[in-house]
């Protein structure tokens, strides 16, 4: 029995971790909105990424059949903003994505910061989208969320675990309306409500 002990302890730890994670699956959704009561944005829309994760591109594809006038430019700069009437930031930190741009995470944060500043100045509405789900839960992604939420006018996320509770709290702090959807494809409704 002794020789199995470490194996058994490790397997118990695994099960413990799984149980611990799953306990936080059902979050409260007190302060969320099913969608916006009145539109806040106008076209054309710039969709860009904060963190260079694949979610940006996926989001741009999901919203394609709403037939808005949108551009997905993951590396857009603040100088590109003059053509657009709404800024959509899709958050999600991807070390591999960032590697493709040969930029550091600091430079990426600066780019996002300048975009936010410029949008405020213009001023045009800012919508923050977080669709990475439970798995995209690392500290860097949260840094991007904390950076952009103070400027946001609307937040859309997935209703998954702890994460969304945290997102709600953050949005509440800055008094921004939040919508949480069950799955990726449901995101079209709230996004539509922001424009029509």
């Amino acid at each position: 029995m002794k020789k199995y002990s470490i194996a058994i302890i490790l397997l118990l730890i695994s099960i413990g971790t799984i149980l611990l994670q799953s306990r936080s699956v059902s979050p409260e959704t007190k302060y969320t909105w099913p969608n916006l009561p009145a539109p806040i944005g106008e076209e054309p829309i710039l969709i860009t990424s904060a963190g260079q994760a694949t979610e940006g591109k996926v989001f741009s594809y999901v919203t394609k059949d709403l037939h808005f006038e949108t551009d997905y430019r993951p590396r857009a700069l603040s100088t590109d903003l003059y053509e657009y009437e709404t800024l959509v930031l899709v958050t999600g930190y991807s070390p591999h994505g960032l590697n493709q741009t040969y930029r550091s995470i600091e430079e990426e944060k600066q780019r996002v910061d300048k975009l936010l500043q410029q949008a405020e100045r213009k001023p045009i509405p800012i919508i923050v989208v977080h669709v990475g789900g439970a798995a995209r839960d690392d500290q860097y992604t949260w840094e991007f969320l904390r950076q952009s939420l103070p400027y946001a006018d609307y937040v859309i996320g997935l209703r998954q675990m702890e994460q969304s509770t945290q997102l709600q709290r953050l949005a509440e702090k800055h008094s921004i309306p939040v919508t949480l959807v069950e799955e990726l494809n449901d995101i079209r409704t709230p996004f539509n409500s922001a424009f029509r």
Binding site: A7, L11, T17, V25, T54, V58, P95, H96, G97, E183
Partner: protein, 456 residues
């Protein structure tokens, strides 16, 4: 194991881990390919390509982790005295988890630790069933690779995201792409199936290896038994020969006595000086011859002997060729002489030494032989750091026929017998895995004392 050899193995282990951790740096093209292909499968709504990319992703990570796991195994194996002890397993798991931590920190990654808890648990469990012999590392690697290919699919099952699986960048990206392309249907089924398939393969391999090694062990045991049988036969013949010689030597005594009688008769008859001195010399030679015959014939015949000579004699009779066993001998200087039956006492010592050597055969270790004087007795201490004997067995081992090695089990009873015959005591103590010590005490030669008394 020797120290410099140890250092070399630890260095090799560190190198393997380092190589594993730095693998992403060396394979930038590969990881870019994975990243690009995730995007391409999204753009072209090509879920087949996404599956290919997933395979590539799992291979890419498997290489990194294979190196880390192998390195950790080499290091922990080298640094812990007993293979697969609790300490060994803890060190192995610790090194792996620490390396994954370093990996995550270094690349700002978020690779799920739960995968490694699971994998370590499974591997340590399976290792109970694979032979820890010559091909250990090869079999370990084989099973590890299949297990890596199995458990990593858990990262790509979207339904498990809520439970802490698949938190690394590629896994998240692929899962969300799959959600867009097939609404999670593809990965939920495909990843689960592949997880199961590879898991099954790994289990089957382990089972086969387990059975195979058992088979080999049985046939080896069989071979050993045949050999033992032959040896016993040989011993039997030897005993017969010994008996023959014994009676021959015995028979020598009667002609000797006759010669002795006749010589004394002759010495009475022939009276010249020269012949008398010849007769005397013949008589002394006859006396010596009679002494020698009786030392061979009777067990309690003893004589004086230097300790060093005894030790040398024993050493030359104990075969010790294993390079993993270090023999340390320490004989106190200026020890008084022993008064013993050399042949039998030496056999007793060799028996104890052979037991110790036998216990070190598998893992190697240290064997100590110390001879020292304590007041009026001489102590022979034979110590080894092999597996040792459970406290519950410490009494039983002295019984004739008790053996855990499938041997005759007459070694220790013989030792006890001989030591008692020399007016001494023998005891054994052991703490399993730490030490096993046999202590033989015999009184200092009485004969020498007598001589000392008469000398002054």
């Amino acid at each position: 194991m020797k120290d410099d050899k140890k250092i070399a193995y630890v260095a090799l282990g560190c190198f393997l881990i380092l190589f594993g951790i730095l693998f992403p740096v060396q394979s930038m093209k590969w990881s870019s390919w994975i990243y690009e292909n995730i995007e391409i499968s999204l753009e072209s709504t090509d879920s087949g390509r996404l599956v290919m990319t997933a395979l590539s992703y799992i291979t890419w990570y498997s290489i990194t982790f294979s190196f880390i796991y192998m390195g950790a195994m080499v290091i922990s194996h080298t640094l812990s005295k007993r293979f697969f002890s609790i300490w060994n397993q803890l060190m192995f798991s610790g090194i792996v988890l620490a390396s994954v931590l370093v990996y995550n920190r270094m690349y700002h990654e978020h690779y799920a630790y739960i995968i490694h808890f699971l994998l370590l648990g499974i591997m340590l469990f399976l290792m109970n069933f694979i032979p820890k012999q010559r091909y250990f590392y090869v079999t370990f690697l084989l099973i590890l690779v299949f297990m890596l290919f199995s458990v990593q699919w858990l990262n790509l099952i979207p339904a498990l995201s809520n439970f802490g699986f698949g938190t690394d960048d590629f896994a998240v990206s692929m899962k969300i792409t799959d959600e867009y392309l097939t609404n999670q249907k593809l990965f939920n089924t495909f990843s689960t199936i592949l997880f199961g398939v590879f898991f099954l393969i790994a289990i089957i391999i382990t089972t086969l290896l387990h059975l195979f090694s058992k088979q080999i062990m049985i046939s080896r045991q069989y071979q050993q038994q045949t050999e033992e049988l032959r040896e016993t036969k040989g011993a039997l013949i030897e005993t017969n020969v010994y008996k023959e010689i014994h009676s021959l030597v015995h028979d020598l005594k009667s002609p000797l006595v006759t010669v002795e009688g006749l010589i004394s008769l002759l010495s009475l008859k022939v009276q010249d000086e020269k012949s008398q001195s010849y007769f005397e010399r013949i008589s002394t030679s006859l006396e010596k011859m009679k002494d020698m015959v009786s030392e061979i014939l009777y067990e309690d015949t003893k004589r004086e002997l230097e300790v060093q000579e005894l030790v040398n004699y024993v050493r030359s009779h104990v075969r010790q060729e294993d390079p993993d066993i270090a023999f340390h001998m320490q004989v106190e200087e200026n020890l008084p002489n022993l008064y013993i039956n050399k042949i039998r006492f030496a056999r007793a010592l060799s028996n104890v030494l052979e037991n110790a050597l036998r216990s070190l055969k598998d893992e190697g270790g240290n064997l100590y032989l110390d001879v020292e004087q304590h007041e009026q007795s001489i102590h022979f201490l034979i110590e080894d750091d092999g597996p040792g004997i459970d406290a519950a067995w410490l009494e039983t081992i002295w019984e004739e026929g008790f053996s855990t090695k499938n041997s005759s089990g007459i070694g220790l009873p013989f030792v006890k017998n001989v030591v008692h015959q020399h007016g001494g005591t023998v005891s054994m103590e052991s703490e399993p895995d730490v030490y096993t010590r046999v202590k033989i005490e015999i009184p200092v030669s009485e004969k020498e004392d007598e001589e000392d008394d008469s000398g002054y």
